[in-house]
């Protein structure tokens, strides 16, 4: 190699380093994908079948250091203010498929260490701005399906919660992707290993456990190659 061509690899590398964009995809399914689980189709653990899941997420933000939610860090970015109405059914919910949520958000090449997402009930103001949120007025998420006894159910929640997801989000200078993964397989499992939770139950304690399970099932991590698995840190 002569001196005249020495800069070429440098220029080639820099040439591809210009976009700095970020996509966010909703991924429905266990993480990492569990083939045994996928065979069960739409059934989730606990003997419940989910036909449809609607959830409203907002204020998706990356923090420049872990702060356990509730406060924004200098250098943090709101990648998706929302509110976003996310509707998942079939393989979208349990098959490990990806549903686009945010496309080409411009982000600098730096590291973030926490993603926060707000779950809040839809307000009248939200509906004014986004009329398609009308069916979710007063609700944060809705689950429709069939319970352990084969009865249809509609589980509605107005939970208000900040989801704090500590992870390493290393934004590169070209293209990045974050998965917001929803894993419904444990929604109706009792956290103490007791009897499965019945979504048709009117018991407030049971409903509170399901709400916590749903919130806990939402994760966020960097997945540039979109294989469903958090990217290794190397």
């Amino acid at each position: 190699m002569t001196r005249n061509v020495l800069p070429l690899p440098i220029l080639a590398s820099l040439a591809v380093a210009c976009a700095q964009d970020l996509d966010v995809h909703i991924r429905g399914g266990d993480r990492p994908p569990d083939p045994g689980y996928l065979v069960m189709g739409l059934a989730v653990d606990g003997g419940v079948t989910v036909d449809r899941f609607q959830v409203v997420m907002r204020n998706m933000r990356l923090q420049s250091q872990p702060v356990d939610g509730g406060v924004d860090t200098p250098g943090g970015v709101y990648v998706g203010p929302g509110p976003f109405l996310i509707e998942l059914s079939g393989p979208q919910l349990t098959g490990g498929t990806f549903t686009p949520l945010v496309n080409d958000y411009a982000v600098g090449a730096k590291g973030f260490y926490e993603m926060d997402i707000d779950l809040l009930p839809v307000s009248q103001g939200d509906v004014v701005l986004k009329p398609d949120l009308q069916p979710m007025l007063g609700k944060s998420f809705v689950i429709q399906g069939t319970n352990q006894q084969g009865a249809q159910f509609t589980f509605e929640s107005s939970i208000a919660k900040v989801l704090v997801r500590e992870s390493v989000f290393r934004m590169g200078m070209n293209h990045n992707n974050i998965d917001v993964n929803i894993a419904p397989n444990a929604w109706f499992l009792h956290p103490d290993g007791g009897a499965p939770l019945d979504p048709a139950s009117a018991d407030p304690a049971v409903r509170a456990l399901i709400e916590e399970n749903v919130a806990a099932s939402i994760d966020a991590y960097e997945d540039d190659d979109m294989n469903g698995i958090p990217d290794p840190l190397g």
Binding site: L6, P9, I10, Q65, V67, K110, E166, N174, D224, L233
Partner: protein, 473 residues
């Protein structure tokens, strides 16, 4: 100002016959062995014609990257499990700021860069050409040989840190070798290999083909130390103002001044015709823990002498440096560039040297050994101020005072900022011939600010004793 750029040709021999007084074994003033050119038996030729090989250098750079990858792959390291998909993904993702371990980023990558730099440097390429090869070697490594995306901090630390370290080791290895002329002894070959393995390998393969003219400084000071960290303490306001005692630990180190400011006939035509390097490495009591270490290299990139030298003189110009400081509770590292001046004055039996440098640190890191979240150090631009004094009493006693102040922002990663002070007091006493002892007191203080956290302060100090081998002329 005499430019030190040597972008095209490998230089002519550096040393003219120096105009220094001679004595049967030692020079006058500060401790000095007689330079090799005073030895009538020194073999000064024949001088091989200048030669260089760009192609072999590039092949060696790729081979070094491949060898390091293969070594780690065979050890089962996750980062080395590359595939075509990982390479494609690295290009798709683009450059990131990684979250790797401080030692890997601050010392491992410069050591890697030293190898690629010296593969080119010892094949006849000049300083800047060799830097370019190290830069390209790092690009290749980052894009192809790790599953994680290419990292900007690595691309800074590897070639820049590697060049600072590499040129110092290149000069030292050539000093050891060339002080034996063109018929160096076996031990000179051996120690030259130890200081610069790539140079040693190229010498095994190609002999004197790329050696060119002898590369000897007109003056240099060297102290090589073997001893122990006797005692020390570290204190932090975290964990309820914890305090830990350290030592005794085995320790070794070195202190080098190449091209001593104030030397008559000192030539400053090329980068690192003057440089100062020091390092220490101390094993901790727990072998599973990281050792404590310092590596400080500062070279003159371009500059000129001040005064005629002899009883007084000096130099000034643009310096470049690579610092890596890692006591057992906090650390700071960075590549720097800035102006500086180094002066000396001799009064009969007393010789005083002083150096002041102000540097911009385009990419620096600093932090604690206690992780905050997933990262335990800031990355960002910063600055450094250095003030050093060295006093020679006859040719027996040397006292050194070294003060450094670092400011590191967290603009590239983590936010916040670091203020780190580092001081050193050393006294070396030559007892007989080239043998002596050194007592060293290192002291450091760190104050850090992180968003949402109270400010952190830490202190660390260690006291070390060494047997010291004196060298230089």
């Amino acid at each position: 100002m005499a430019l030190a750029a040597d972008a095209v040709a490998e230089p002519a021999p550096q040393q003219p016959a120096p105009n220094i007084a001679t004595a049967p074994k030692y020079g006058v003033g500060r401790f000095r062995l007689l330079p090799p050119w005073e030895d009538p038996n020194l073999v000064k030729g024949p001088v091989p014609p200048p030669d260089k090989s760009y192609g072999v250098a590039l092949a060696e750079v790729v081979l070094i990257d491949t060898s390091i990858w293969a070594f780690n792959y065979l050890r089962g390291k996750e980062f080395a499990k590359i595939s075509w998909d990982s390479i494609e993904q690295n290009f798709n993702k683009g450059w990131i700021i990684d979250t790797d371990d401080y030692w890997a980023n601050g010392l491992g990558h410069p050591l890697h860069g030293n190898l690629t730099f010296n593969s080119a440097r010892t094949l006849g390429l000049n300083f800047y050409e060799s830097f370019a090869y190290s830069f390209v070697g790092s690009l290749i490594w980052e894009q192809f040989f790790e599953i994680q995306p290419p990292s900007m901090n690595d691309q800074v630390n590897t070639p820049f840190g590697g060049t600072m370290l590499g040129e110092s080791l290149f000069r030292l290895s050539r000093l050891i070798l060339d002080a034996g002329g063109y018929k160096p002894s076996a031990w000179r070959e051996f120690f030259s290999f130890v200081f610069n393995p790539m140079g040693g390998l190229n010498r095994l393969f190609y002999g004197d083909k790329y050696r060119g003219e002898l590369l000897l400084p007109v003056s240099w000071i060297g102290e090589f130390r073997f001893g122990s960290v006797v005692a020390g303490s570290s204190r932090s306001d975290r964990a309820d103002s914890s305090q830990t005692n350290v030592g005794p630990w085995a320790s070794f180190g070195a202190y080098i001044v190449y091209g001593v400011p104030g030397t008559p006939d000192l030539s400053l035509r090329k980068p690192f015709d003057h440089f100062e390097a020091s390092g220490s490495f101390s094993l901790t009591g727990d072998v599973t823990e990281k050792p404590t270490a310092t590596l400080l290299v500062r070279g003159l990139m371009l500059g000129e002498t001040l005064g005629a030298g002899g009883d007084s003189g000096g130099l000034w110009g643009l310096f470049s440096s690579y610092d890596f400081i890692a006591p057992n509770v906090f650390r700071v590292q960075g590549f720097g560039l800035g102006p500086g001046v180094s002066l000396m004055k001799r009064w009969d039996w007393f010789e005083l040297h002083g150096t002041g440098v102000l540097e911009l640190l385009p990419w620096a890191g600093g932090g604690t050994t206690v992780p905050l979240g997933v990262r335990d150090y800031h990355y960002g631009p910063g600055g450094e101020a250095v003030l050093q004094f060295r006093m020679h009493f006859y040719d027996r006693v040397v006292v050194r005072l070294d003060g450094r102040q670092y400011f590191v922002t967290g603009a590239y990663a983590r936010g916040g900022s670091e203020h780190i002070s580092y001081g050193k007091l050393e006294t070396s006493v030559r007892i007989a011939d080239v043998h002596g002892v050194t007592a060293s007191l290192d002291w450091g203080h760190r104050q850090a600010s992180y968003f949402g956290e109270p400010d952190i302060w830490q202190r660390a100090s260690v006291f070390s004793l060494y047997y010291t081998l004196f060298q230089g002329w």
